[in-house]
Symmetry: C2
Subunit: 286 residues, 2 copies
């Protein structure tokens, strides 16, 4: 059979695969200065945002990605107060970060305001904390911002970027990670979304090498499902400044009233388990 | 864009999604007495087997499914000697089970010999142990076989079935699980592939309830990626006869020379971590 015009289709060229959702009513389309942003209304996944034809998020499963990009690093830092999010224009990561009471300030720097405009309209639940007095939304070049950030002024950097092609590409370079390292305080953590373990292993390797090249002490990858992304299996990679990654505040998770749908203490520990093929490959990376 | 005739497309009706692989040269097609078996040669996932249009396995990622359906139960039983596989005609699960030296006999009962014929031709790596003297391949009705198995004659039952529609449907019923319970020895374990945690939660619930209804003492679900299946996220559910599921032989994994690509001791423990939405839902099941 074939798919008719009632499907939104994303082709993953490098994976030789495609993923499609039924229900293709387009509810938003704008060509910004940087990229084309579209939102579709699907039958079973709610709204679906594409940027330049690549799936960014759906209403149904974005909770997994946003929770796993934020809570593992925040609960691995002893007292995260100052957070920067690079990218993240849909504001879902920001929303999760602001659930942490220790956090005093979150600066989100996305180059493209149109992404946030689309999110406000079509993913209002992700933008519910945008007016939190601790939140600062900037629409600017994240690399320049990071280069100009005062040294030691951040506890956590979350790189919630698009794929390493297009505007997001520079966010995967040693130069950018060096700027993050400088801006982080001792004990600070950076986390970068790091693509699919099955089909993007060379990208994960490059991130580990680049983080070490930028002086990060320890690097570690965590794994989680993300059904709307190619292979349905995704990862994020953490770099630590000056310490190992062994400060999981498990008791704080248990005592917390933060509501999550995917993340919990058990999931936190489990996410770091390395599949055997990954463990073997990564032994040669450092 | 749309997908041309150079793609193999599987639509998941209940999920409102579709998955496709590029490269649609058909290398096998046969209508058996039960179902239509097809194998395609894809560009990036190797061979792909479909039954009645539903994806069964690909060369590239079947290792995850087959390892997770076999090693977690085998390493959770103190001394698994007698194993039955219901379904599993591609022989990938059989191949993993036979890696365990404690295993003295594995009987695989698949109703459809054509599946195994296709696997022998196009997934020979999965059939490499079919001639092991400990292996017995039967092409028969798995339910009748289980009903006739001597009580207490099995240590492990692996239900490697198709979806709960078509010929596989009866394998999800309390009557079948009762037959498994009877055939298992004290301390025996059954494991059933249990679909996608994201879109098939009612099926997972039904399996838990049916296993308990058939007197299984403890039930537990494990989670793993499976890129070619709907949502790319899959599960298996274990039932235990007379004991809890707390006998993980971790030292044996470490001491073993069994080669795996996904499974290891860390992955074993991690696979049982319940996502928060699943944990909350499952509290009401028992």
């Amino acid at each position: 059979m074939n798919l008719d015009e009632n499907w939104v289709i994303e082709v993953c060229e490098e994976g030789g695969s495609a993923f499609a959702l039924r229900g293709s009513q387009k509810v938003f389309e704008q060509q910004s200065a940087y990229q084309k942003i579209e939102v579709f209304e699907t039958d079973t996944y709610g709204k679906l945002m594409l940027i330049d034809g690549y799936t960014m998020l759906s209403s149904r499963d974005n909770f997994i990605y946003h929770e796993m990009l934020s809570h593992p690093v925040l609960y691995s830092h002893p007292a995260p107060r100052r957070v920067a999010i690079i990218g993240g224009g849909d504001c879902g990561t920001l929303h999760e970060v602001l659930k942490h009471r220790t956090v005093e300030r979150v600066t989100q720097i996305d180059i493209d305001e149109v992404v946030t405009q689309a999110a406000r309209l079509h993913f209002p639940e992700l933008c519910a904390s945008n007016t939190d007095p601790r939140a600062e939304l900037l629409f600017a070049d994240g690399i320049r911002w990071m280069e100009q950030a005062p040294p030691g002024s951040l506890d956590i950097v979350i790189v919630d970027s698009t794929d390493p092609i297009g505007p997001g590409e520079v966010l995967f370079t040693p130069a950018f990670y060096s700027a993050c390292y400088r801006a982080l305080d001792e004990g600070g953590l950076v986390v970068q979304q790091s693509e699919s373990p099955l089909i993007h292993l060379p990208i994960v390797e490059r991130i580990h090498r680049s983080l070490h090249g930028a002086s990060f002490h320890t690097t570690q990858t965590l794994f989680f499902p993300q059904p709307v992304y190619p292979t349905g299996w995704w990862s994020a990679t953490i770099g630590t400044k000056g310490i190992g990654l062994n400060g999981f505040r498990e008791a704080d998770v248990a005592a917390s009233d933060i509501e999550t749908r995917y993340y919990n203490a058990e999931v936190h520990r489990a996410a770091f388990a390395q599949p055997e093929f990954f463990r073997q490959a990564s032994e040669t990376w450092v």
